[in-house]
Symmetry: C2
Subunit: 338 residues, 2 copies
Amino acid sequence: MRRVTIKDIAKEANVSYATVSRALSGSPEISEKTRAHVLEVSKRMGYTKNYIAHAMVKKRTGLIGLIVASVKNPFMSELAFHIEQHAMLKGYNLMLCNSSHDTERERQVFEVLISRQVDGIIIVPTSAETHRHLAPYLETTPTVFVGENLRDAAVSYVAIDNYRGTRIGMEYLYGLGHRDILYFGRRKGSVTHQLRANGYIDACEEAGIEPMICHSSYTSSSIQNGYQLAKTLLAKPIDYTAVFAATDSMALGFMKATSELKIRIPKDLSLMGFDNIQYAELPRIDLTTIEQPQQAIAATAVDTLLERINNPQAGYAHHVLSPKLIERGTCKQLSDTE
Amino acid sequence: MRRVTIKDIAKEANVSYATVSRALSGSPEISEKTRAHVLEVSKRMGYTKNYIAHAMVKKRTGLIGLIVASVKNPFMSELAFHIEQHAMLKGYNLMLCNSSHDTERERQVFEVLISRQVDGIIIVPTSAETHRHLAPYLETTPTVFVGENLRDAAVSYVAIDNYRGTRIGMEYLYGLGHRDILYFGRRKGSVTHQLRANGYIDACEEAGIEPMICHSSYTSSSIQNGYQLAKTLLAKPIDYTAVFAATDSMALGFMKATSELKIRIPKDLSLMGFDNIQYAELPRIDLTTIEQPQQAIAATAVDTLLERINNPQAGYAHHVLSPKLIERGTCKQLSDTE
DNA sequence: GCATACAATGCAAACGTTTGCGTTATCTTG
DNA sequence: CAAGATAACGCAAACGTTTGCATTGTATGC
């Protein structure tokens, strides 16, 4: 049950297999007549090109690797979708790996992808240290980081302006009359979170209001972690009228806790998220949040990767996209007669 | 900036490259001394095996292709995650493709994956016709179908017992006192939906209650489609106390419509889903539903695929897993004094 | 009509591995 | 110590493509 190769076609069509190769790859230095003949024969015999052999000689696989913490995560899955679509458009296919928030695992799959000769790698790092662990590989393997704002590292990345994101959100909350706004779930070890928190703090300062920050000691943002953190937070007196969560996941965890405690959102408390994951627009959730333009992120990520592949000696590219407020139902105007 | 190959190591270590290959692949016919030496040199030179060349001679890539309609879909992304994890465990990597619910696209990516010499393919078909379109490839490429119950087709598949799923759900609703239960979003062109509807109908018959079915003319189940369908349905008088949605997505669409119409769930109407996608357990959603055991499905899918790869002449395997009721907050006991 | 140019095709090497087989060296056995 | 067995390693082919170069055939220019 051997698959039909170029040699089989050559024999059948009475030409050398170089000719077959040229006919199939659309080389100009071949007569139209023989090309037509070869195409006919190869179609008849059901030939499909062997990309492995092709990659062998061309030293190009047409593959790009994608490393995420977990495609289960709605943010990552959406990104993965758009990356695959855009890559497909450009003639590339996708190899998907999950690192499960594990730095060692991250390194392992990176090595595997290199072994598999992918032309480049797109990675959503699990920590701000990731690019350090990967440093030895980064000079030989075109790589672009997604999500983290790695200004000072010698890497290409695409991310949003996280600082501006929280500023935009704060402006909105301020406009609704809120003055006591708690920032929920600030986390160490991520530049993204650093920047978001900074945006919050600066906004407070400019407005002359007191920042209140609820720190998260978890290493990742998830609904579960948000829920746990919210439970301890809400056990204490509530001296704020709005909550700005560091991520949508944390916001949902917070929401879960408030549901249990019969705290009504937005009636008793306004809630704002960040990321605009798919969950946010679900009925009953209807979370007001700051959007990361996933499709644009995905497209720029593969474009800068391809750029890097085709032009390795060029400098590192930094793309910072704009976040956007998505107004839904979890934030309400603070009544003057409080 | 050439990558270091086996030949480079051979030269450096003063052995033939056959010896290097044997040392690296753990062949027994080599002395411990030279193996240690070769390993040391290859480590020092930063060698990484070229899987493409390896695949070339072994005629095995260690790759499995996964085709889904869209990883954006929470059901698919969860599946993709577990498939990747399980495949990784068995030494395989994953190539991910989205078909976007398009049969022609489905065929295209199937061909691409074959070209890329994947050892096998796992596909979540978009329609009950998919395996017909793919028929020419199926005899030469190990494939397993996931989700659809393709009893009569010459394919391997893993799915859940969808018929039993609705039966279980109906039993539960009946136990809560419901007698007027509407089945929401029955769809043509999918065996899965056929079976679920049958389970509903048979349950009605046995209980001596009248089946009520709201048909969907959409070609896929989504929140949006569920929402549209629910709006026209809810414009008519409501002569039922519970709604059994064909899928969680449809249930969420229904929920969105009820939110707008101030119909309270579960107070005014009980709602049951099917699939237990991640959304279902979110706060405020809290959807009672029938679970598809995703991790088990993923594991059996890759196991039967590997089985098929290593033993192509064996018969087709049909794995039918058991669904399970997940009790949450959208169904309530029907008060006797209605 | 002959030299020249160019178009069309064939030959064979190369990509980086694995592996059957042949060769050498070492060991065992009587 | 000779002969046979076995362990360790090298040689070279093979996997299915692409492509530089050589070769052949045909058209062009004078």
